[in-house]
Symmetry: D2
């Protein structure tokens, strides 16, 4: 089963709100032994990194260092790529892709040099598109480039559903897939709760099942926007999702996560499609892609998600 040793050096590229929150969460969760935080602006990465390093004395021994030189990523087992501007009000996804694509290409080139054996986890948006771009330009094994996909969307939906049903979120199994954004959708046909199909789970008599499902997806779609509107960005939830994926790679856990990765041929999509779909994630990144049994409506939604991403991708490509 290959090398299952966790390699305790983790890198985070980008010391903006999200990158800093990821680095802080890695430290608080004691995920790794050595953490390197990078930003091209030294003062910025010093400010965030030193503040995060001040958390260590309250925890188990860890080493936090800051750098503006990608070469310091050498030896990292996982590198989280959190650089690039975030969405601002009135900005379209297309524009964001156009701006972030060259940033990702340039960083991937630097990381190919500095840490060719690391698994790279992209969290910069639009994450599915940028994962495709990163995979296209890297020299590392393609499975070792993954995006955070709909891991956070899935978490939001599961948690909201768990609260509705009055059970622990760990007993709710339902995936948001497609793309991290408004075209994500829930695979209700295979949702289940503690061994019971969701469709068979006893709800209060006054609950309309179809309405509940709609509300939960609407809530999930709106959640990021609602937070964004209030604080100007999102970082804490996405940071916890990123840490969860990093731990999965470091410990070679082989958990099934809806990360951004090429869609398996069985879905009938073009080979270049990179979407958020359940994969087995381990020490090598994506170890295996699963194929969900989708019903007709879900299949249509998946193709729609692909179409939207594809239309956004072309300008991004043009911008290269």
């Amino acid at each position: 089963m290959g090398d299952t040793r966790p390699r305790a050096k983790v890198g985070v590229v980008g010391a903006g709100h999200l990158g800093a929150a990821i680095a802080d969460a890695l430290v608080l969760r004691e995920t790794c032994r050595r953490l390197v935080l990078y930003d091209r602006t030294l003062a910025k990465v010093e400010g965030e990194g030193w503040d995060i390093a001040d958390a260590v004395p309250h925890l188990r021994e860890q080493e936090v260092s800051v750098t503006d030189d990608l070469a310091a990523m050498e030896g990292a087992a996982v590198i989280v790529l959190a650089a690039g501007p975030t969405m601002t009000a009135g900005q379209s996804r297309l524009e964001l892709c156009g701006r972030n694509a060259p940033v990702v290409r340039s960083l991937m080139a630097g990381l190919d040099e500095a840490a060719p054996d690391a698994v790279v986890l992209l969290v910069t948006n639009p994450v599915d598109l940028l994962t495709r771009i990163a995979r296209d330009c890297t020299r590392r094994p393609p499975g070792s480039v993954i995006g955070s996909g709909t891991v956070n969307d899935t978490a939001r939906l599961k948690y909201a559903l768990a609260r509705r049903l009055g059970v622990d979120h760990r007993n709710v199994h339902a995936y948001m897939v497609g793309e991290h954004g408004d075209c994500s959708f829930c695979v209700w046909s295979s949702a289940h709760v503690g061994g019971v199909r969701l469709a068979d789970f006893p709800l209060d008599p006054d609950v309309d099942f179809a309405a509940m499902k709609r509300e939960l997806v609407d809530f999930t779609h709106a959640r990021g926007r609602e937070i964004h509107r209030r604080k100007g960005y999102t970082n804490y939830g996405a940071a916890a999702a990123a840490v969860s994926i990093v731990e999965c790679v470091l410990r070679d856990e082989r958990r099934i996560l809806s990360v951004s990765a090429p869609a398996p041929p069985a879905y009938g999509l073009p080979q270049r499609a990179v979407l958020s779909l359940p994969c087995v994630v381990g020490a090598g990144g994506v170890e295996r892609s699963l194929v969900l049994s989708l019903d007709d409506e879900e299949t249509a939604l998946l193709h729609e998600a692909y179409a939207r991403l594809e239309s956004a991708f072309q300008p991004g490509r043009a911008a290269a």
Copy 2:
């Protein structure tokens, strides 16, 4: 949603192999702040309890005390009842029930006096039968008496299946139910793996699905026996299962666990049936019983499990 405060005092009744391993696991997992270990033989509980207390200085602050007086259980939020002789070679389940039933009745009377508000978790075998006996004789709310049921059997099956499929055990969802013993069975009809029905999960072409399922259940049935034959008892696995249930109650997690509890009417069993079936477990013990959608074969197996328990129960009753 009631009182969701964890109450950090936990009691363990019985300092035999299993009780001691449970107490040690509670300490190593830092599950509670105060742990009271009881045995009617003071020297025995001192030997085990002092040894376990020596683990504390390597961990977060905790208090471990030993006693031969049940009154010390006062204020405990959860009490694990691990007393009574274990199965010995050549001994039948019937004999064991006959011997342990009066022990359980006597301890429940003492605990009703000392700690009437605690949730009581039985782990003594035969656990489904003894849970029924404990529920019948206690004055506390019936939902607050639970047995560890097939939580350990389910864990064994899930883990073995996860290894076969090459995924994290947390992504495998399949329940062993019925009774903790040879009449337990797997509810394959609702088994699933990371959002995919097990029946749809892609296996290696040379794997015979029906044979794999048979092998896994056989493995699960034999596991306890195989360990028992080699070391004379089982304790470490069962202790981890018990800690997991205790944490669920302490933190009011509302996880779905196949504990020993009365079967809901929908299964068509007599009202007195106490079996290992999925329940929502929280601060009050069993908060809710779920009803699995069983296929015909599974329904037959459930009734068979009940029949066997019932035939074993009657002599146990007579012995009272």
Copy 3:
């Protein structure tokens, strides 16, 4: 030894950079079961609180709620008071005290109403002065109002010293005391490393002991400023310190922490002096104040710290 049960509800008052980072750290460390985040501005607390709640599905079951009504703090075991403006460039400590004193008084009145049994931990600056003000105006037992004091300063010094000596920070024992700010000082006379007095600890021959001590204190004094200058505020390190104190109270750990509390008479200071000095912290807040054996220089520094705080306090009082 009183009630040693952790009570799992924790409140955080103030959803600014620091309050939000504290709430996020509490969730990532799984410190409590229920967390209530308050801010007088609802949109602000929703933005931060919902983002933080999105971390929960990646962790053990927890409940995060947001409010703009202090009444929601009812039943909390610990409340972290993180409200009030932070230092801005060119602003003096005096001015900050003048602005934050009325905020603290008003919040303490509200908390006295809503959660009279909670331990209140102040982290707003100037923390020693505001702790004194909060203690003067509250109706709760005085020991139950504590300030984060020099817990973070001590952590910084210990960690930097540990790196110099090449040992784990948990083996370095040296306190920064006096006040959280430029008048803090290190009690070198009792510093020790793993059973060896620091003065006896073998250093590299080219290390000048006196210079090393000066550098470490200078580093500690400058650290906050250096971070502040680069990111405009500090939050991650202080948040980890706050979580550490909260856990100490919740679990009644009785750790010795240099929190803000009244100085014991043995130091020869006026009775009203509230300084950062080692105390035993437990379920009731400050359970006991220790008296350090200070040498003459250290005693002078302590009196100097008091004098500076006193001079800053008078205007703060006037502002009431």
Copy 4:
């Protein structure tokens, strides 16, 4: 600072009471990713190892395997040597050393073959003597062979002292050193509590300081015997101590622990002396030995401990 990557494979040699408890504690603490449990008797290691493996499904993904072939230790970062008979009633330390010395020599030869890069931690008694024997016969770097020494004795004393003083055990700093056994002694001259010298720590007026110190050492000396007398062996406390040392090596924590290692020349003992004294323990085993400032009485006790070990060692040597 060398390779600070934790290497997640850990081996435990010996599946007796202590070896099994260590393996179980490693799993419950989620210390490593892969654990190999060895015993020369296959049925024994299967019985314990399978039982311990049954704990995994309740925890994070880990892999537990059993073997009767030392070759399976290949690639382990740390190997705990827990084999050999334990003390029985009426048996002298000399006899035990005589019996265990050849076991240790034979196992070290096998481990030198299978896992030459691992740090080996001996826990078999008499641990100081057997560590010396293991160091003498191994081909690996001498610092990479350590014994558990008085880590457990120190823990017992610290915890008992902490309870007397009413503070968290993590704030009590006092070492039991010399040898793991009746010749261990406490270095009271450098004991301190949260920044205060123990001699200056305010005790209740009716406490006789000298008597308290005597009682605590007597308690520590007697503790193991008292447990042994009641349960026939000790394992849980020693297992937690071993896990703590393993984690220190795996994470390269550089904690200061009183492990069995050669005494530094400054103590004036022969070069061959292997005693329990504070060392910095990291990825390479003993990274550095500290020199405690002992007073005259303590120096005499150290020499006495050495003399006793030396007299016990010679027969052990003869038995080789």
